[in-house]
Symmetry: C2
Subunit: 402 residues, 2 copies
């Protein structure tokens, strides 16, 4: 009688639990671990955002508010969308909730268990986790390094069936950092329209983009018919722990999502919503400055990784990750992650955590200090060369020191 | 093809939407509305709690943390439980999440769609909303004014079937303010054990209690077998907008709930969790002072309501609500709510929003200023007497002024 529900059987939890528990054990034992596994930033939230939060706390913005969010933040998001994408959603199209909840709520509101959702492989682990516990069938579209990990829209077509309810598109992408072109995005929107399915555009990394532009498929239907934009403050504004995000979508769907959010959460704390308004008003110089910093860190990490035998790393155009190819080491992605953690004290995510297509790669978040990147890459290089020396005893000890 | 999921058909949203939209329209038109409908407090969070939040923000507690919560808060909750209930849960039995999410997550983790959950009628509207959208069958146990709205444990027995997975018990109760006795609580625990079902003890109002003690059925199994305590900071610490609560339950169930929370929400903002630690360390004098203030407001509201023709109001022992019997007015609870809103500018919740058993009653949250209570009750009295005058034209105009 007293067992768990069927749904719990699909709960995956953290896909890299094994790595994480080793990390924790090592840290508890006082060992230094270079942590590149979490998609979190070395940067803090902007001081003006912290100040706005404190001010909201002082002003008593600490009570229940509308489950769809405070009007001032929803309007600010309408402004931002108009500025960035060229169309202005109606305020009734905007719901404030954590970005992760948007994934869960969109799937629950438009996909029945047993029906199908399409997304890329490798793809964000949360799509896998949510679809898994909801009993939704995942249909994967492989993306390839040779195409810079960009999803080819025409690869969607043969995978759309009568059971397809939702396509998820992610640009910039996690874990690969790929950024889709305008033509590709328009083609995705066209396909979604033609096949009459919902389209979730995960744009959480839209502010983390380098040397190119962010395009959204939402420009086609202005989020009025089928497109739902997911965005938030965790990545672009280094506010991961604030749990502040939003959805822009068709008014009726947003109303359903709001009802669901009200039922299970009531609302996002209002003082956190005021922080969001402040973040959206960040002076453009500061935004640009931070993007330059990210770019510098990305370039450093790519250079250092390419300097390690057995690793090749392309330069991603967006997000805050590199996704190096580690097949040259002869290790699987899980073996590689275990090896560099144990031998070099570097925590990375095995690419296979993002789907079968991630095998042969690992993900590192480069939003770290230059010093951390330098030290960790040097430690990985040393460990891998030493490992090689074991296999090739002819190499002299002198050569392997770095 | 492009419709919503089946699940959305069960979304109820706010049960008193009609009343709320009238409230908003009246306020937008510049009309003063005395708002007693929301279960939120007139009191602010304690200044030391605000200060602790700001300090945590300054100390950079703004990043992802463990989805089960920061260890310091989980330990503080173990301390608090030991102090209040006499047993100390293991930290692995504690998960930090909003109290509303606890309701949703417990139901989703232990009850399959089509299976049964038992709770009182009238009962908290969120149980109805969650069970409804999840397709869980609700089995109601009537509670009666003549028994001070306390649930009679033996009324549970004939309602337990092979499909019963969960009993929810609420003391102090929402909407009636009833407080169960120690014997009743122990009997509930015994029945849950005998029938081998889960038992969710909603103790969100355990700090809002007057002239009597709070008892928990959790003392029997120490939350190790079947009992899950729901508690939080919204009511006892006037922190409704912070969305901070917790569950204490069997370690394996808490792990499942943690996985689910991680999947759909990641974690509660860490700076909010630090506020929780500060709240739990509130000096006992302050807690007592606030309880005295609540009690004074309760007594005032009960006295003024009993002074209105057609209304009788018992004195509730807990929570922050009164639940007056309005049958003497000849109106249904919905008609009454509509009437006092339109004619007296007073917003209340129709008892029927809490189940059929709530018909004939309305709920008012008395955590308001004395002035608000005085003015609102006077306005209701005037409107009701005037209404009566319309029906009984023999009453002279002079008599009805107050």
């Amino acid at each position: 009688m007293k067992s768990f529900s069927k749904l719990t059987q699909g709960l995956l939890g953290q896909p890299m639990l094994e790595i994480l528990s080793t990390v924790c054990a090592m840290e508890a034992a006082g060992k230094k671990v270079y942590r590149f596994e979490i998609g979190d930033s070395y940067f803090d939230a902007y001081p003006h955002v912290i100040a706005a939060t404190k001010e909201a706390l002082d002003n008593g913005h600490t009570k229940y508010v509308d489950s769809l969010g405070i009007p001032a933040l929803r309007e600010a998001i309408c402004d931002y969308t108009e500025r960035k994408l060229g169309f202005r959603p109606d305020i009734s199209q905007v719901a404030i909730m954590p970005a992760n909840s948007v994934i869960d709520f969109v799937m629950r509101c438009v996909v029945d268990p047993g029906d199908e959702v399409i997304f890329s492989d490798p793809g964000f682990a949360a799509y896998i986790a949510v679809a898994s516990y909801l009993g939704i069938k995942m249909v994967k579209v492989p993306v390839w390094e040779k195409n810079d990990f960009r999803l080819n829209p025409d690869d969607l077509l043969p995978r759309i069936t009568a059971k397809t309810r939702l396509i998820i598109i992610t640009s910039p992408q996690n874990p690969t950092g790929s950024v889709m072109t305008e033509d590709e995005m328009l083609r995705v929107a066209e396909i979604a329209k033609e096949k009459d399915v919902y389209l979730l555009s995960d744009e959480i990394y839209s502010e983390n983009i380098y040397d190119c532009r962010h395009y959204s498929p939402a420009v086609v239907d202005k989020c009025r018919e089928r497109t739902i934009i997911l965005n938030g403050f965790s990545k672009g504004h280094s506010m991961s722990g604030w749990r502040l995000g939003y959805a822009i979508g068709p008014t009726e769907l947003i109303a359903k999502m709001g009802q669901m959010f009200e039922t299970v959460y009531t609302c996002v704390p209002p003082f956190i919503q005021y922080a969001g308004i402040s973040a959206l008003n960040t002076p453009q110089e500061l935004v640009q400055q931070r993007i330059s910093q990210y770019k510098k860190l990305r370039d450093l990490m790519v250079a250092r990784l390419n300097d390690i035998p057995g690793i090749t790393c392309a330069t991603p155009k967006g997000a805050i990750y590199v996704f190096p190819n580690i097949t040259g080491t002869g290790l699987t992605s899980k073996e590689f992650a275990k090896f560099v953690l144990e031998k070099a004290g570097v925590a990375v995510v095995p690419g296979s955590c993002f789907g079968e297509g991630g095998e042969g790669y690992v993900r590192l978040c480069y939003a770290r200090s230059e010093e951390t990147i330098e030290e960790a890459c040097a430690a990985m290089k040393l460990a891998l060369i030493r490992q090689r020396k074991v296999k090739k005893p002819s190499v002299s000890r002198g050569i392997i020191t770095i």
